[in-house]
């Protein structure tokens, strides 16, 4: 008799009703703690998996765009006012050490001795930061010292 039962159970699908009983043996009411933990982990994983949003054209070269626009506005205002007798208004203007780090090893430099490209970038940074008064002073001096300067960018 027992052998007969064994033969019947050789089929993988036999005992389906008992399989259903086993499936109901778990108590799913205690899954709330797991739900919380898994949801939190899934949130964190999803945040890391999502591709970073592309930078829009408006947000990427903000400093550059602002510098060009303001520079274009300010240049005509400042350059024509200079006459042959005008003193170069760069007295006291300095590039701070952090602005010259790449070109001069991070020391404060008088604008007359500064690399024009570094100086130009510094002016853009001033505009970007909203320090328009200082930016205008630097731009005024810059236009006098480097009237033919053209940014590569």
């Amino acid at each position: 008799m027992a052998e007969q039962h064994d033969d019947e159970l050789d089929d993988w699908d036999d005992g389906e009703a008992f399989a259903g009983l086993l499936q109901s043996a778990a108590d799913p009411s205690r899954l709330k703690a797991q739900d919380t933990v898994v949801a939190s982990a899934a949130d964190a994983a999803a945040a890391r998996l999502r591709p970073a949003p592309r930078r829009s054209l408006a947000s990427w070269p903000i400093a550059l765009a602002a510098g060009l626009v303001v520079g274009a506005v300010l240049s005509p205002l400042s350059t024509p006012s200079l006459g042959p007798s005008d003193a170069i208004p760069d007295a006291g203007l300095m590039l701070p050490a952090d602005a010259t780090r790449s070109a001069s090893g991070g020391v404060e430099v008088a604008v007359a001795e500064a690399d024009p490209a570094v100086w130009y970038r510094y002016i853009q940074e001033l505009i970007y930061r909203g320090d328009f008064a200082l930016a205008e002073a630097h731009l005024h001096a810059f236009n006098q010292l480097h009237p033919d300067y053209r940014s590569d960018r």
Binding site: L9, W12, G15, A17, Q23, S24, A25, A33, A42, R50
Partner: protein
């Protein structure tokens, strides 16, 4: 989520999508809804599987949670790859099975506290209309079944857990590394022992 807001996604994850498609979508785009659909599909079935595997509700809950976290780690590493000829269900259950063996079978086992009493309660539950464990009165019967499962050797218990979860004999053979005939044999012996441990109504289910 009304519309997709992730880059590269052109439509909303659907409950009609396959498990594998949804998991790959989560892995590639971080689509949270895709993961939620899969989680909802397997939340209870995975717990049922780990209960059958361990014969212990508390252990089953821990193993189930760890398996989900391991799955999330795999998607984060980009290593979730549903194998050829293997379902996501088999992937998830095999992960849980391996986790259970690593965490609970390769170190000294605590003494089990489930009582082997409750045979009559199991009989009563099985004789009820829906034949499932539902109310508080059936709790003893449920514990009786868990205890009977826990008495089985691990090799037989894991086969029974996978079989009752709907995995094919081939999938169980792959997951356990045992030949198909061995898997069939383990299932046969496990059911025979369960018949001996449980009452007459359970026997009728096993024979049916």
């Amino acid at each position: 989520m009304g519309v997709d807001h992730f880059q590269g996604i052109t439509r909303i994850a659907s409950s009609n999508d396959t498990d594998e498609a949804l998991l790959l979508r989560f892995q590639r785009h971080g689509d949270r809804r895709a993961f939620d659909i899969v989680y909802e599909r397997y939340r209870k079935p995975l717990l049922s599987f780990t209960v059958g595997l361990s014969g212990n509700q508390a252990v089953a809950e821990e193993v189930s949670q760890q398996a989900w976290l391991q799955l999330l780690e795999a998607t984060e590493r980009g290593t979730f790859t549903p194998g050829a000829g293997s379902s996501f269900r088999a992937y998830l259950y095999t992960m849980a099975r391996n986790r259970y063996i690593d965490d609970y079978c390769r170190r000294p086992q605590p003494v089990r506290s489930e009582s082997l009493a409750g045979g009559q309660a199991l009989e009563d539950t099985l004789a009820s209309e829906d034949g499932a464990f539902g109310g508080a009165a059936a709790e003893q019967g449920r514990l009786r079944l868990l205890a009977a499962l826990a008495e089985l050797p691990l090799e037989q218990r894991e086969v029974i857990a996978m079989w009752s979860a709907g995995m094919s004999a081939e999938e169980v053979a792959r997951a356990t590394g045992a030949p198909r005939n061995t898997v069939l044999s383990r299932k046969r012996y496990a059911l025979k022992k369960l018949k001996e441990s449980l009452g007459t109504t359970a026997r009728s289910l096993l024979d049916g």
